[in-house]
């Protein structure tokens, strides 16, 4: 019985130590912040700068991004807003922000009733695994948003130039 109990203890201790090590590694990675990187706080500041103190509600906006991105240098992005796009009710602007690129703003699209359909596609850069936020400003002055979490395996923006 004695040796068995010993094995169990060691194994338990081993697992505890290993788990702790992995946890510490994970934390270390999480705490590694690029010096020039935008943070959720700077994203919030950029959002405030772009739209003021307006209240943003989730809904109406659909942000399409692949959930897993192999190369952050070109990430296809499609933004669609549920709107009839008439003179009385249309999308004025769509802002797209990110958390961890060196700059929090990605792009702002200006639309109008002549757009016909509030749907735009482009390709963006993502420097890290992060969430991307889209905010649409409608002609009635309301703001709607959508957010997508993206896992990035090869980061963009800061690699060495050839």
């Amino acid at each position: 019985m004695e040796p068995k109990a010993n094995v169990a203890t060691t194994r338990r201790r081993f697992l505890a130590v290993a788990g702790g090590a992995i946890g510490a590694l994970g934390t270390a990675q999480f705490l590694t912040v690029r010096p020039a990187a935008a943070t959720p706080a700077s994203m919030a500041a950029a959002i405030r700068e772009a739209i003021g103190e307006a209240q943003v509600r989730p809904g109406k906006v659909k942000l399409d991004l692949p959930p897993l991105v192999e190369n952050g240098n070109t990430v296809p992005l499609t933004i669609t807003v549920d709107s009839p796009m008439t003179a009385a009710n249309h999308v004025r602007r769509v802002h797209i922000f990110n958390e961890k690129n060196p700059e929090p703003s990605i792009v702002t699209f200006h639309l109008g009733p002549r757009s016909g359909r509030a749907s735009i596609s482009t390709r963006i850069r993502l420097a890290d695994t992060q969430s991307v936020v889209a905010i649409a400003e409608l002609s009635d002055g309301s703001f709607w948003s959508d957010s997508v979490d993206v896992i990035v395996t090869i980061a963009a923006c800061t690699e060495e130039a050839k």
Binding site: P102, S105, T108, R117, I120, T122, R123, C157, E159
Partner: protein
């Protein structure tokens, strides 16, 4: 002159919504990349894209360095009348690239 690709339907029915696809060859240098000597490559991006339909602006985009190289933008507009669509890309240095496409609306 940068190389430009534009996809606009040659013909459209009046009032129909048409899709426009645009792409311009440009490095969109972010200003955050070091070169082999460790110095940062200065920023050089296209920061504005405008589409005008017979002179009236129908779509505009303010771009930041987070837009991928060779910026691709696709969007929609209503085919209102026959005429010319003018696409203008403006860079950080203030230089513009202009491209036009004709559309016949019946």
């Amino acid at each position: 002159m940068a190389r430009v690709l534009i996809n606009v339907p040659a013909k459209a029915a009046r009032g129909h919504v048409i899709e426009i696809k645009t792409l311009i060859s440009h490095p969109m240098e972010t200003g955050y990349r070091p070169d082999h000597t460790g110095k940062l490559v200065p920023r050089d991006i296209i920061n504005r894209f405008v589409c005008a339909y017979n002179g009236t602006e129908v779509f505009r985009a303010d771009l930041h360095p987070a837009i991928a190289a060779n910026p691709f933008i696709s969007f929609y507009t209503v085919a209102t009348e026959s005429g010319v669509l003018t696409f203008t890309w403006t860079g950080d240095d203030g230089k513009s690239f202009v491209e036009k496409a004709n559309i016949t609306v019946a």
